[in-house]
């Protein structure tokens, strides 16, 4: 599992690659923890390389979303594959995230 954060002028660019299962979630959370408070900047998460996500991964995303919403910014998910999208649909996350 590979997680990167790129800080641009007005937003954070996050790239998720690999399988975000329960085992990997702890490390990913450690990496993404700074984004729990975004300071008004939007977060764009590129899921192009994301092959799998478990509920622990979803929990990290919703924590980021909650922080962003509190700061008045948005979280945009892009390039999700169909399997990941179907998980988002099952959990209703498709309705609360901005999905591109």
């Amino acid at each position: 599992m590979k997680t990167t954060i790129e800080q641009l002028e007005d937003k954070y660019l996050v790239t998720l690659e690999g399988e975000l299962d329960t085992a990997a979630a702890a490390e990913v959370e450690k990496t993404l923890q700074p984004l729990y408070t975004t300071g008004g900047k939007d977060v764009v998460i590129d899921c192009k390389g994301l092959e799998y996500i478990a509920s622990s991964g979803l929990r990290i995303l919703i924590s980021i979303l909650k922080g962003a919403k509190a700061g008045g910014s948005k979280v945009l998910l892009k390039n999700m594959n169909d399997d990941i999208k179907s998980v988002f649909k099952l959990t209703g996350f498709i309705n609360i995230f901005d999905v591109e």
Binding site: E19, D21, T22, A23, A24, A26, Y52, I53, A54, S55, S56, L58, R59, I62, S63, L65, K66, K69, D82, D83, S86, V87, L90, T91, G92, N95, I96, F97
Partner: protein, 790 residues
């Protein structure tokens, strides 16, 4: 699988019977009565009743009017007869007075003539005449002037009746010149006897009427006028001494209509004048009497209406006699009669109105009652339909479940009943119940509906039948003022294992029908001598063994909210059938009053042999119908049969992996799922789903079954028959049932969403079934997924 639910058209006794209009109960307040009356009168406008009332009133009035008319006519005739009689009588009296007076005078003419030479004898003669004639006021002889030179120019001796006797007067004493008086001149001129007057006598100051004759000397010259005077006042009294009606009066008029005499009452003066002028007025309409010679003038427009009857007397003088009658007196009896009739007709009208009112009220009430009954019948029909829909729908709940067959029937005795049954599959378990609410009718039906809904609700999150029973009991005890209780049998059959857990609350014991010897699994503490004695009715026909399952009776729910319901369990042998029923079956009576009885049920089961639940239920119902015959069904009848038919197919795959309760082990789980999926050639999307579901379930176990700090293993076994893939996750941690965990609400917004609850949601969404059992101190969670199309 599910037998078709019979559409029962319930009998609704008493609904068609409209009955007689119920008597209104008394004690209505007057205001209510008035309001009703007002309403009734208002409502009359559009009613035939009004027409009837009007017609009746018109008829009554017409009859009364006709009667009045005819009676009036009759009385008019009678009046004419009376008046005629009165006039005749009075004429006779008058005639007698006239004739008497005339005869008296005529009888003394000769004596006067003989004594012409002796003027001083005249007073004596006159005195005698006056004395013997009662009506005479006086009597006198007026001699022509200078007839007796020594008596002066005028000489008229006169005898006058006074209170103190008869006085003799010499009228002609110079103060009164009778030669200029009308009657003297008249007689002298006519030389004939005649009646004179009436006139006001200046000298006597009275109104008189006189009869006079001329006195001839032997030479043939008229020398004197001999006359008598009659006091008209006296005459009036005689005329009015008696009347046909109290205020009637009689008048005497001359032929020319001049008033002679009448009643002397000064109060009647005006009336007398009016009647006199009426008779003298030729323009006034008069009609002849049908009973005699008299003429009638009717007058009105005055204070009192009335009629004048008058007639001319026969012979000379041709005077007229009149009698006046007033209508109010003549027709007073008729008026009284009229008023009485009016009163009676009013009374009759009132009674009629009252009768119609009561009739209309009765009719209205009857109509309202009928409407009410129809409404009630309609509502009962709807309630009955609703109650039927509360029962489990055919095919819906057991769709795709091949491990069990269920058939249920409810035949209510009335439109709505207090029996219930339910059965549905959740998480690989069949939840079922059968129950009987105490009492009958709508109150029981309401409790039935509540219990039915509650069971569905509680059992959709609670797996333990004793817990379900406890929760049902708590709700049933709350506000149970009617003290309605429910006997219930709740069962939970684990479909993968055939493990049946149940809890009884005073309900009839279900019958287990089995091919193979029965094995009952219960802890020794739950054993009771009673249960042992009741159970174990074994038989060998068709190799079928029937037995009442052992169940503690406990207590019906709704009695004590803190009662501790105990759960029992047993193993359901494959192919065995559990038959549940309510006392509507065992306590059904035939025409002879015999009970259907439990033995008959058991015998039937033995005789029937192994059957599909649907056939079994239908056979029992048929038997029940035959038994009760035409006897009225006294209680609801409910039957529920379920047959355990687990699939016994060969597994083409059986793999297992054991992990420690460490999140990091999850990586190995991913590899395990991929390997299993690879063996079954499942596509990538399916692999993702299976991996996610199994991972979530295993992580759940790791987090909850093993509290922090404890260690243990989680075994994951994957089996497949080629059509379904099954993951059985077993751990030895604390009892934890993930199917009772509430799944996350996917409709909430980002801010509202809790972080947890996603795992179980994903497991439920991704897998076909999820089943939890605590077996031998272990948590056993089974997830299944159809892989046919993958």
């Amino acid at each position: 699988m599910w037998g078709r639910k019979p559409l029962i058209i319930p009998r609704c006794p008493g609904i068609q019977a409209h009955g007689k209009a119920a008597r209104r109960s008394g004690g209505h307040r007057a205001s209510t009565c008035m309001n009703r009356l007002k309403h009734f009168i208002r409502s009359l406008r559009n009613r035939r009743a009004l027409l009837v009332v009007i017609l009746a009133v018109l008829m009554l009035e017409l009859l009364s009017g006709a009667q009045y008319y005819f009676t009036h006519h009759l009385m008019e005739d009678e009046l004419e007869k009376y008046a005629e009689m009165e006039l005749t009588t009075k004429a006779i009296i008058m005639k007698r007075i006239i004739e008497d007076s005339e005869h008296t005078l005529k009888g003394h003419i000769m004596e006067v003539k003989r004594n012409l030479a002796f003027p001083d004898s005249m007073p004596g003669i006159l005195k005698q005449i006056t004395k013997y004639s009662p009506y005479l006021q006086g009597c006198g002889i007026a001699f022509i002037p200078d007839y007796y030179p020594d008596k002066g120019r005028l000489f008229e001796p006169y005898a006058l009746k006074t209170d103190s006797g008869i006085q003799c007067l010499q009228v002609a004493d110079g103060a009164f010149d009778y030669t200029k008086d009308g009657f003297f001149c008249d007689i002298m001129k006519k030389k004939n006897n005649s009646w004179v007057g009436p006139y006001d006598d200046m000298y006597l100051g009275q109104r008189l009427i006189s009869y006079a004759v001329p006195i001839y000397e032997f030479t043939g010259d008229t020398v004197a006028v001999f006359g008598i005077d009659i006091d008209t006042e006296n005459l009036g009294d005689t005329l009015n001494y008696r009347h046909i009606y109290p205020s009637s009066f009689d008048l005497l008029l001359t032929e020319d209509g001049e008033f002679i005499s009448g009643p002397n009452d000064p109060g009647l003066h005006q009336e007398v004048q009016f009647v006199t002028s009426l008779i003298n007025d030729s323009t006034v309409q008069r009609r002849p009497s049908s009973k005699g010679r008299s003429k009638i003038i009717d007058f009105d427009g005055r204070e009192r209406d009335g009629s004048v009857f008058y007639v001319n007397m026969k012979g000379k003088p041709h005077w007229q006699i009149a009698v006046v009658c007033y209508d109010d007196e003549v027709y007073s009896s008729l008026l009284r009669l009229r008023y009485r009739l009016l009163l009676l007709s009013l009374l009759a009208f009132g009674i009629l109105l009252y009768v119609i009112w009561r009739f209309a009220e009765g009719e209205k009430e009857l109509r309202q009652k009928t409407l009410e009954q129809e409404r009630l019948a309609g509502e009962l029909r709807i309630a009955s339909n609703i109650q039927q829909t509360l029962l489990p729908e055919e095919d819906v709940l057991l769709k795709g479940i091949s491990d069990v067959q269920v058939e249920g029937r409810l035949i209510p005795a009335k439109a709505v009943g207090g029996d219930l049954y339910n059965a549905f599959v959740r998480d690989g378990k069949l939840f079922f119940c059968i129950g009987d609410v105490s009492g009958k009718g709508i109150p029981s039906a309401l409790i039935m509906a509540i219990t039915q809904a509650l069971f569905r609700n509680i059992a959709s999150r609670e797996d333990n039948p004793a817990h379900i029973m406890r929760l049902l009991n708590e709700t049933a005890c709350r506000n149970n003022k009617a003290n309605i209780f429910v006997t219930l049998f709740v069962g939970v059959l684990d479909l993968p294992t055939g493990h049946l857990r149940y809890c009884n609350s005073g309900h009839e014991l279900p019958i287990l029908i089995d091919h193979s010897p029965l094995t009952i699994d219960h802890s020794p503490s739950q054993m009771s001598a009673e249960a042992s004695a009741r159970g174990g009715q074994q038989c060998s026909m068709f190799n079928v063994q029937c037995s009442m399952i052992e169940a503690k009776p406990n207590l019906p729910i709704g009695l004590f909210d803190d009662f501790n319901y105990e759960m029992q369990s047993m193993q359901m042998p494959p192919g065995a059938t559990l038959f549940l029923y309510t006392d509507g079956l065992t306590e059904a009576r035939n025409a002879d009053g015999k009970l259907f009885g439990r033995d008959r049920v058991v015998q039937m089961m033995e005789a029937c042999g192994p059957k599909e639940p649907k056939q079994l239920v239908e056979a029992v119902i048929e038997k029940w119908h035959q038994f009760v015959g035409a006897t009225e069904q006294s209680d609801d009848l409910t039957l529920l049969a379920l047959r355990y038919t687990p699939s016994q197919e060969q597994n083409i795959l059986d793999e297992a992996i054991t992990l420690r309760n460490d999140i990091r082990e999850v990586e190995a789980l991913g590899a395990f799922v991929k390997q299993v999926a690879g063996q079954l050639s499942l596509d990538k999307s399916m692999v993702g789903k299976l991996r996610l579901a199994v991972e979530e379930a295993v992580v759940n176990v790791m987090e909850y079954a093993y509290p922090k700090g404890t260690t243990g293993d989680v075994n994951i076994r994957a089996t497949s028959n080629g059509r379904r893939l099954k993951f059985i996750i077993t751990d030895a941690g604390v009892s934890f049932n993930p199917t009772e965990v509430a799944a996350a609400d996917t409709t909430l917004s980002a801010e509202e969403r809790p972080v947890g609850g996603l795992g179980i949601l994903l497991v439920r969404e991704l897998m076909d079934t999820i089943n939890y059992e605590r077996i031998d101190g272990k948590n056993v969670l089974t997830l299944t997924k159809s892989i046919l199309n993958s």
